[in-house]
């Protein structure tokens, strides 16, 4: 087997606040193989968006002194790369789609101009060809009559179409890795389904890898091959998608799945997790989930839990992983 396309090793991103370094992301490691989709699931404040930004070194400058670890893309560390080389890579080898299409698009330029920018920055083609390539990019994301739409301004488009344009920009240079940070959260259900199908189709055609950041287990079930569950800046469990749903080892993963209403079975009550996720400045010494965990023992409150191998490709950060998962 080839080396993974993306290897993240012990990545930590911190921020200095009131003389104290807060670790937004705290020593996470994961791999992304060519052609696979990795899901990163977590609640707000768990560090998922910070992780997404760190993968392209787009985190704010104030966090740089407190960033450590490695983000290896094809073996080259993105965190140490020279600015020129990084700029050549962004948008070409690694690309990104964010949640809010309105915030990603510039209202004063036509969508065509904004797609052309991707070709111009990377100097991929002659100036005269850019427009036709932009039309081609719009066609790839299934926008009807792209020849006319290319001259539209963002405000002339619906939310779903704008998100497609953002997709067209991100995919313009046919990147090998797409980082998608909650790309469908602002879309309606039928539009969301269309968009997810579209990304799947493009992945099938081009073989690109995806890192899908989301809080929605439905998106994970639909899109991902493997899943990392993030809690308070740490990966508490990582496993293939079926294992996560059928047999999670970490109590947090189990509780999170139980608190989602199911479409196909009617429950009277949901099993909810008491309390709220800890703030970055008030995490406990031991397991960060201990205070909300139904199975916490004395040890969990004091000692940080070890990363336990449950099975091949399945690990959990827990002193006492769920029994059914280990047997």
């Amino acid at each position: 087997m080839n080396a993974p396309m993306l290897q993240v090793r012990n990545l930590t991103v911190g921020l200095k606040r009131h003389g104290q370094v807060l670790r937004l992301v705290d020593g996470i490691s994961f791999d992304v193989q060519a052609g696979e989709t990795l899901g990163i699931v977590g609640e707000s404040g768990s560090g998922k968006s910070t992780t997404a930004l760190a993968l392209m070194r787009l985190t704010p400058r104030s966090t740089w002194p407190h960033t450590s670890g490695q983000v290896l893309f094809d073996g080259h560390d993105i965190l140490l790369m020279e600015e020129d080389r990084l700029r050549a890579m962004r948008g070409r080898d690694i690309s990104m789609v964010l949640q809010d299409p309105m915030a990603s698009l510039n209202p004063v330029f036509t969508v065509g101009k904004q797609i052309e920018e991707a070709f111009a920055v990377h100097n991929l083609c002659a100036k005269a060809e850019r427009r036709s390539l932009a039309i081609e990019a719009l066609r790839r994301v299934r926008i009807a009559t792209p020849e006319q739409r290319v001259d539209d301004y963002p405000h002339q488009m619906s939310g779903g179409m704008k998100q497609r344009v953002v997709g067209a920009i991100a995919l313009a240079c046919q990147p090998r890795l797409l980082i998608a940070d909650e790309p469908t959260t602002s879309l309606d259900v039928t539009i969301q389904a269309q968009y997810l199908d579209l990304l799947k189709d493009i992945q099938r055609e081009s073989g690109m890898s995806m890192v899908f950041i989301t809080h929605d287990f439905g998106v994970v079930a639909r899109m991902c091959d493997r899943v990392c569950v993030l809690y308070a800046g740490q990966i508490v469990e990582s496993a293939p998608v079926r294992t996560i749903f059928k047999n999670p080892a970490h109590w947090y993963t189990r509780a999170l799945l139980d608190s989602v209403p199911q479409l196909h079975t009617k429950a009277e009550r949901l099993i909810s997790i008491a309390g709220t996720p800890p703030q970055a400045d008030s995490r406990s010494r031991g397991c960060r989930f201990a205070s909300r965990c139904t199975n916490a023992q004395a040890r969990c409150l004091i000692e940080p839990p070890p990363l336990q191998e449950i099975a091949a490709n399945h690990s959990a950060l827990c002193w006492y992983p769920r029994e059914s998962a280990t047997s």
Partner: protein, 319 residues
């Protein structure tokens, strides 16, 4: 016989769209809606953005005057209510909005926020008001001492609890929940949904529960109504609608839902295109241009709601 708290009769709201002095068209945001909310039940309202959900809620809350049709409270039309009765209506029908960061005034202390409906709509003295504030804060799982804090001292989930406490303060009969849990994290969402169910069981409240997430609507509702471009296309008991959705649009909504589990077969989204502009809705059935099962007649005659099973109505030419 159960009381019907809120009902609408061919409720309609049209907005004129103007450029300068010229009227460019009319948006039929809500176009002839009949619905009823009975005592102690939850009616789920589902629809995509732009289908008129928000306008409908604003009409129900008497924040907008209808163009045609009426909203009635306990059988009396709103325009016919006296000042005293209107006050009673406002006390009994309370909203909870989606975003607790914009629905709570950052400069007001929690006790002022929560007591506002009492001060406006009831004649309680200040001691009684303070006692009631403490009581409702405890009901939603907060402490009575939280009354002295400001909204910024709370997390998103706690703020939504404050918004619910405010809605409960005046002992309402009906809560209008507009995407009340959509902005919350998964673990917090479950807490709030359970809280709402508990409060309903305890006080016999009626809920109009608006959400775009069908799984949540199914969990909460006794009946579900599906809205498309200003019209209700299907209404029925939750189990009936979820097990056997009849209208092609409802079916498409269910197909578009994300799976509970990776082993469920994924259906490809049958529904193409987007919701047409309400400024220029298609003739006949408003759904026909996107409908996978459209008949030739669908573009001409507008289908009326027809009862196809007990309490289950559908507006579609197929039935």
């Amino acid at each position: 016989m159960t009381t019907t708290y809120l009902a609408t009769r061919s409720l309609t709201k049209h907005f004129e769209v103007k450029t300068g002095l010229q009227t460019r068209g009319i948006v039929r945001a809500v176009d002839g809606i009949d619905l009823a909310l009975h005592e102690g039940e939850t009616l789920g309202l589902v629809g995509e953005s732009g289908c008129g959900k928000t306008t409908l809620l604003r009409l129900l809350l008497n924040l907008l005057p209808p163009s045609e049709g009426t909203v009635s409270f306990k059988g009396c039309d709103l325009p016919a209510l006296s000042k005293q009765e209107l006050r009673e209506y406002r006390r009994a029908v309370q909203p909870v909005f989606q975003n607790p960061f914009s629905s709570l005034d950052p400069r007001m202390r929690v006790d002022r926020i929560v007591s506002e409906p009492l001060r406006v709509n009831t004649s309680l003295g200040s001691i009684e008001v303070a006692a009631r504030v403490a009581e409702v804060l405890r009901m939603v799982g907060l402490h009575a001492s939280d009354a002295e804090k400001y909204p910024h001292e709370f997390s998103g989930g706690q703020r939504q609890r404050i918004a619910i406490a405010r809605a409960l303060a005046s002992e309402p009969r009906v809560l209008i929940l507009d995407e009340a849990v959509s902005s919350q994290d998964i673990s917090i969402r479950a807490q709030i949904l359970n809280l709402l169910k508990d409060l309903q069981a305890r006080f016999g409240l009626s809920y109009l529960f608006v959400a775009h997430d069908l799984s949540t609507v199914r969990f909460m509702s006794d009946r579900i109504s599906v809205m498309y471009l200003g019209k209700i296309v299907e209404t029925g008991p939750t189990e009936s609608v979820c097990r056997q959705p009849r209208h092609p649009y409802t079916q498409a909504l269910f197909d578009a839902c994300l799976p509970d589990d990776p082993e469920f077969p994924t259906k490809s989204s049958a529904l193409q295109g987007e919701v047409p502009s309400p400024l220029d809705p298609p003739p006949g059935c408003r759904f026909h241009p996107r409908c996978p099962r459209a008949l030739a007649t669908c573009s001409q005659a507008e289908p009326l709601l027809k009862e196809i099973a007990p309490g289950h109505t559908v507006a579609c030419a197929l039935y």
